[in-house]
């Protein structure tokens, strides 16, 4: 079990190293990269199967016992996020073999891409706050490199904005880590969860929580810290934009869910209303920003922001259903959003532009692409029978149950405005007559076409599967939501018998019954 738990970290590390060794040999790099991505998917799938059994898997690195060493902890939420990250790695690794692969690989796409996966998987599996900071940095430095891969002027400008904001964000994170250590004397997440409610100075603890919220919020692009995202994402090359859209902001969301269900859960009275306001503002500003745009990539970038709001409903309400809704929303959103960016790349390839004004007639010219666009687009807006419907349903229902009517109402309204944005792309790019004078894009080789369309078809298939066969996904999300609220189970799994040795006896008997 030990090896399996750290496999999602080891596999991208090995892949990144090997692809870096074969610098300048794109063919070999691509082979290794695809193999590494497939191995990651297999390993994370096996982990998910284990985690669905209901136990929290914890491994202490180097054999140093829990609160002292670095703990790698996989609970169901981590396993779900890892599996979906594995799926994205495969989809993007295949897509990146499409048009433009040679230029990308010469600039070092493969090592950077797998380093990014290393940072993402590390963030999802660690059980230690400082270690989370380190994984964030791994992810960040790889994403800096990926963003300016082509070194165009737009990318340099967008990249600088992204880099500057993230530098400040991570420093805030570091500051919060220091303050939290000063308050509690520990940085192990499970140990923090044990100690946090007993800290005398709860005001200072809440301030640290707010600082962490700023740091993770900047990463997750929540209101009002989202400006870097629409400034940077659309400049990246399409496979890069797709993996960014799928995973980068979600790591921030994951960190928020992890910290605020585990360490700051006892302070719901302070953070709950704050999260509600942030969630509503994020949803509304994102969708309104998208309405004003006329470039497919920028419309999609603003929709990432608006959807982040839905994922925060779970931490705002802290009920099992709300957290399950957030988890289901994460799964759905990662698949759908990555797919929309991949489709935007295909549209660009087929018709030479991202600007809606210059597009048109794709419904006649490329009916398959049109159908493939409709599936994730309608899913994003939350129409049945796609995945977005069920995740929105869970989020809104949890809002109504918790009597947070404003939150539920905003979620409904934003869903409608999302549909408006998606129909805008549909009308302009697919239905409108082609503006003429557009020369068709360069001819594809058969392999390029396959590399471009296979991931799109596969991800659309996942969206439809979640939509039509929701039961296992919803059940897993419900289980993850309940596990997130069961902090005692998490603490016991990580600290093990040590904690039992330390706590007064009454808890001993209760704890032994927890698996």
């Amino acid at each position: 079990m030990q090896t399996l738990v750290i496999a999602p970290i080891l596999i991208p590390l090995a892949t990144a190293t090997l692809t870096a060794l074969f610098w300048g040999r794109p063919g070999i790099q691509r082979g290794i990269g695809l193999f590494g991505a497939l191995a990651l998917l297999a390993a994370t799938g096996a982990l998910l199967a284990q985690a669905l059994g209901g136990n929290v898997m914890a491994v202490q690195m180097g054999g140093w016992a829990a609160p002292f060493g670095i703990a790698i902890v996989i609970d169901l939420l981590s396993a779900i996020m890892l599996a979906i990250a594995g799926l994205m790695a495969v989809a993007v690794a295949v897509y990146a073999m499409g048009p433009g692969a040679d230029e990308r690989d010469k600039s070092g796409f493969q090592p950077l891409f797998h380093s990014l996966m290393l940072g993402v998987c590390g963030s999802f599996s660690t059980g230690d706050l400082f270690n989370l900071y380190v994984w964030f940095e791994v992810m960040l430095i790889a994403s800096f490199g990926l963003l300016v891969l082509d070194r165009t002027k737009e990318q340099l400008d967008g990249g600088l904005r992204y880099v500057m904001l993230n530098l400040v964000g991570t420093t805030f994170f570091l500051l919060a880590v220091g303050l939290l250590y000063g308050l509690t004397g520990t940085l192990n997440l499970a140990d923090l969860a044990r100690v946090a409610p007993t800290v005398e100075n709860q005001g200072a603890l809440a301030a640290v929580g707010a600082l962490l919220l700023v740091a993770f919020g900047a990463k997750a692009a929540v209101f009002p810290l989202f400006n870097w995202l629409p400034a940077a994402y659309h400049t990246a090359s399409m496979p890069v934009a797709a993996i960014f859209a799928a995973l980068l902001t979600k790591v921030g969301v994951y960190a928020i869910i992890r910290l605020f269900t585990l360490v700051f859960a006892h302070d719901t009275a302070f953070f709950g209303p704050m999260f509600q306001v942030v969630a509503i503002a994020t949803m509304v500003t994102g969708v309104l920003g998208a309405a004003a745009q006329s470039d497919i990539r920028r419309i999609l970038s603003f929709h990432i922001i608006s959807q982040i709001g839905y994922m925060l409903v779970g931490v705002a309400l802290l009920t099992p259903l709300a957290l399950a809704g957030s988890v289901l929303y994460l799964i759905h959103h990662i698949v759908v959003k990555a797919n929309l960016f991949l489709i935007a790349g295909a549209i660009r390839r087929e018709s030479g532009s991202f600007a809606l004004a210059r597009l048109g007639g794709l419904w006649i010219a490329k009916p398959l692409l049109a159908v493939l666009f409709l599936i994730p687009a309608l899913s994003l807006a939350g129409l049945p029978p796609f995945s977005g419907f069920w995740s929105k349903l869970a989020v809104i229902q949890s809002g109504l149950q918790a009597e947070a009517y404003l939150l539920a109402g905003a979620a409904l309204l934003v869903g409608m405005l999302t549909l408006y944005s998606m129909t805008k792309i549909w009308n302009e790019a697919f239905w409108k007559a082609a503006p003429g004078g557009d020369t068709p894009g360069p001819r594809w080789s058969r392999g390029q076409k396959f590399a471009c369309y296979a991931p799109i078809v596969a991800l659309a298939g996942v969206t439809v599967t979640i939509g039509l066969w929701t039961e296992p996904f919803a059940a897993a999300a419900m289980q993850a939501g309940e596990m997130l609220l069961d902090t005692d189970g998490y603490i016991a799994a990580v600290l093990g018998e040590q904690r039992l040795a330390q706590l007064p006896t009454p808890n001993l008997i209760q704890l032994e019954t927890i698996p």
């Binding site: 737009e154 990318q155 340099l156 400008d157 500057m164 530098l167 250590y181 100690v195 745009q293 040590q498």
Partner: protein, 149 residues
């Protein structure tokens, strides 16, 4: 040998009460200077602001581990715990990691600034609003022309 968890607040009272307020003031000063530099419309200044801010964060970690004891955290021969009243080694390990990471990030940001200075001829963000042009009719037409070319 079973290890025992440290109590919730394991850290001893500082021995030298004068140093902590001084360090706190230093951190405050560094943060103020970095905020001032972040407000400048000039990327190299912003970067120096980041360096100052990460220094402040590193000092913060060091202070939160409590300062005072000068005894090195070593385990005496035959003993199974560090010597009594030893200095706290963890914040130093954390700060060391953070310094390395901060240095790497600053180096990368500096290269990016140099590169954009060469390509765009400016280090002022408002001169390089290429990624996010104002959404005016004129700009849109310029972009479309560029794409058509």
């Amino acid at each position: 040998m079973p290890r025992i968890l440290p109590p919730a607040r394991p850290i001893r009272k500082p021995r030298s009460p004068t140093l902590e307020p001084f360090l706190a003031l230093t951190i405050g000063l560094l943060v103020a200077a970095s905020v001032y530099l972040f407000l400048a419309r000039d990327l190299p200044r912003n970067l120096i602001g980041f360096v100052l801010l990460s220094t402040a964060a590193n000092l913060g970690i060091l202070v939160s581990g409590r300062i005072g004891s000068m005894a090195p955290p070593l385990v005496a021969r035959g003993a199974d715990a560090v010597v009594a009243d030893a200095a706290n080694p963890l914040p130093q390990a954390l700060v060391l990691t953070a310094i390395v990471i901060g240095f790497g990030l600053a180096a990368f940001a500096l290269t990016l600034i140099v590169k954009s200075h060469r390509q765009l001829g400016s280090v002022r963000p408002e001169d390089m609003a290429l990624a996010e042009p104002q959404n005016t009719e004129q700009n849109r037409r310029a972009i479309e022309q560029k794409e058509a070319a």
